[in-house]
Amino acid sequence: MDELDPTVMLAVLLEMMGAWFWILGLLAVIGIAGFVYVLAVERTLSSRRLVRAELIGVLGGIGALVLMAYVTLSGFTDAGGPIDWLVIGLIFGGGLVGTTILAYAIGGLVSIFSGRKDRLKHRT
């Protein structure tokens, strides 16, 4: 193991996050799968839904920063160098993008399935 071993990274992340590692991982997989499914079914990117999802995504980004501040017992006024601001940006960006994808997927799935129900109602 002369090089950085991904299994070491995984072991540390599992120790750090416990069950949350799998919960968040599952959420990420569901979010991405849902997003891809919605895109495949609708064959277009709904700009209105995307804007709404991005607005929710901003809240997700802020949430990621608040969570990070909570678990690290610190605040963002503690940033002391460029790497700190870069990491803060990445945390915000990660929260924003993840939440946006998830929100878009949920919105799309709701739209698709409610649309099907409507169609079923019309048939009967």
Partner: protein
């Protein structure tokens, strides 16, 4: 019996690998490549001590050796996450944060004798426990740790920690919590805060410096800094043994208004009068205090000190540190004996970060011996100290035997800058890495 004369070291290659490593949070284990394969053996291996080094070694050997009888001897059922003591003494975590059960980390195929080693008999290849049990071995790993010698400070009473302005972060998680209570009272009332370190080798030599910074920050956050004088009494002529780090700490202490006195070694404390007496080149010097963080002299565990294992000459002889080769961790007189962790008589490195790098090297040499092969694994003295300089910031200081800085993220995380990311590592990444290390997974 293994022969120590065959050992070869490719230091350049090792240093290169070390430089390519990542921070403690993700630092890779360095081992000897081919020797990492499982070795079939019926060897008897005894590990004396179940602290960070002992448990980590048990996990590594359990993984590497098939069929070996591995016995770990230690009477302590509570395991301390010692790097967490500072956070407890800072009031950020409670004592429970640093306490877990030794049993949670003992590998299934390792026998744990819940007793302490009373006698080491390296000539007879056996150890004898306090309960009188004789345990023979083919290989011995000494990981018996440190004795905190509070008795060496005249007038010091351990049960007064937390009262009368007495703090001592090192004693235990509970006393680290009590230290916060005493420091917190001091931060309300002001006065003189006195900090120091012993003249002996010690665990994490950055910890006394950190606690001075933390106390300064608590005073500032409560608006009481002007009411307090902070004094750091160094045992020698520097703030820290690594010159470049020492100079940085000097600048930061100047910036924070922390006074330093040099060549002061605490010898006596008058708890009632709140006076600390130091041994100095000019004779005894007394400093009045309102709060003091007592750091006791540290020595090798008594059973090791009284055995044939320590150095007979040199700087590690007086306090009984085990005479090992600084790169292989192999005993210089008993080739089937290794020492890892705090007990090892090597420069610097009484930290969990050093354990993380020492243990795979020693394990690799044991496995190679058993396989009839040679190992070129070597430990370069790497150690790491996330030096907290205030709440929310730390310097990720990493260095080797030769006082070289060994930044894990060169060009990304500057080792001598006060950074939030270094604090983040200390607060959320260090403990998971430590626990993964105990389980042999990091």
């Amino acid at each position: 019996m293994p022969n120590s004369t065959y050992m070869k070291f490719d230091r350049r290659r090792f240093l290169k690998l070390g430089a390519a490593g990542t921070a403690l949070a993700v630092a890779p284990v360095v081992s000897g490549g081919e020797a990492a394969a499982t070795v079939r053996t019926n060897a008897r291996i005894v590990i004396a001590g179940a602290g960070a080094a002992g448990l980590s070694m048990a996990a590594q050997l359990s993984e590497r050796l098939d069929g070996a009888t591995i016995t770990m001897i230690d009477s302590r059922v509570r395991h301390y996450y010692q790097p967490g003591f500072t956070l407890v003494a800072a009031g950020l975590k409670n004592a429970g944060y640093a306490v877990s059960r030794t049993a949670d980390y003992v590998p299934r195929d390792v026998e744990w004798i819940e007793d302490s080693v009373a006698e080491f008999d390296p000539d007879g290849n056996k150890v004898i426990t306090q309960g009188g049990q004789s345990v023979p071995y083919d290989f011995l790993v000494v990981a018996a740790g440190i004795d905190l010698d509070y008795d060496a400070i005249e007038g010091m009473e351990v049960d007064r920690i937390g009262q009368d302005g007495i703090g001592s972060v090192y004693h235990s998680p509970e006393m680290a919590e009590a230290t916060y209570a005493a420091m917190s009272r001091f931060a309300e009332e002001g006065g003189v805060g006195l900090f120091h370190r012993p003249a002996t080798e010690m665990k994490c030599a950055g910890a006394p410096l950190k606690y001075t910074f933390i106390t300064d920050d608590v005073l500032r956050r409560r608006g009481n800094r002007a009411r307090a004088e902070l004094i750091y009494a160094a045992h020698d002529g520097v703030h820290f043994s690594v010159p470049i780090v020492s100079e940085k700490v000097r600048m930061l202490y100047q910036d924070r208004g922390i006074d330093t006195v040099f060549h002061h070694v605490l010898k006596q404390i008058d708890i009632g009068a709140k006076e600390a007496t130091f041994d100095t080149p000019e004779g005894d010097a007394t400093i009045d205090y309102d709060f003091i963080n007592v750091v006791p002299p540290m020595r090798a565990a008594a059973a090791v000190r009284n055995s044939p294992l320590p150095w007979h000459t040199g700087p590690y002889a007086a306090d009984g540190w085990v005479e090992v080769h600084r790169e292989t961790m192999r005993h210089l007189r008993y080739p089937n004996v290794f020492a890892v962790g705090d007990i090892a008589g090597v420069p610097k490195g009484k930290t969990a970060a050093s354990v993380k790098w020492q243990v795979p090297v020693a394990a690799d040499h044991i496995a190679a011996d058993l396989a009839g092969e040679e190992s070129d694994s070597a430990f370069n003295g790497y150690t790491s100290c996330p030096l907290i300089t205030r709440f929310g910031r730390a310097m990720l200081v990493e260095f080797d035997y030769h006082d070289n800085l060994m930044p894990s993220f060169p060009g990304i995380i500057a080792p001598l800058e006060e950074l939030w990311v270094s604090w983040v590592m200390k607060t959320i990444a260090l403990k998971p890495t430590y626990l993964a290390m105990l389980r042999g997974r990091a």
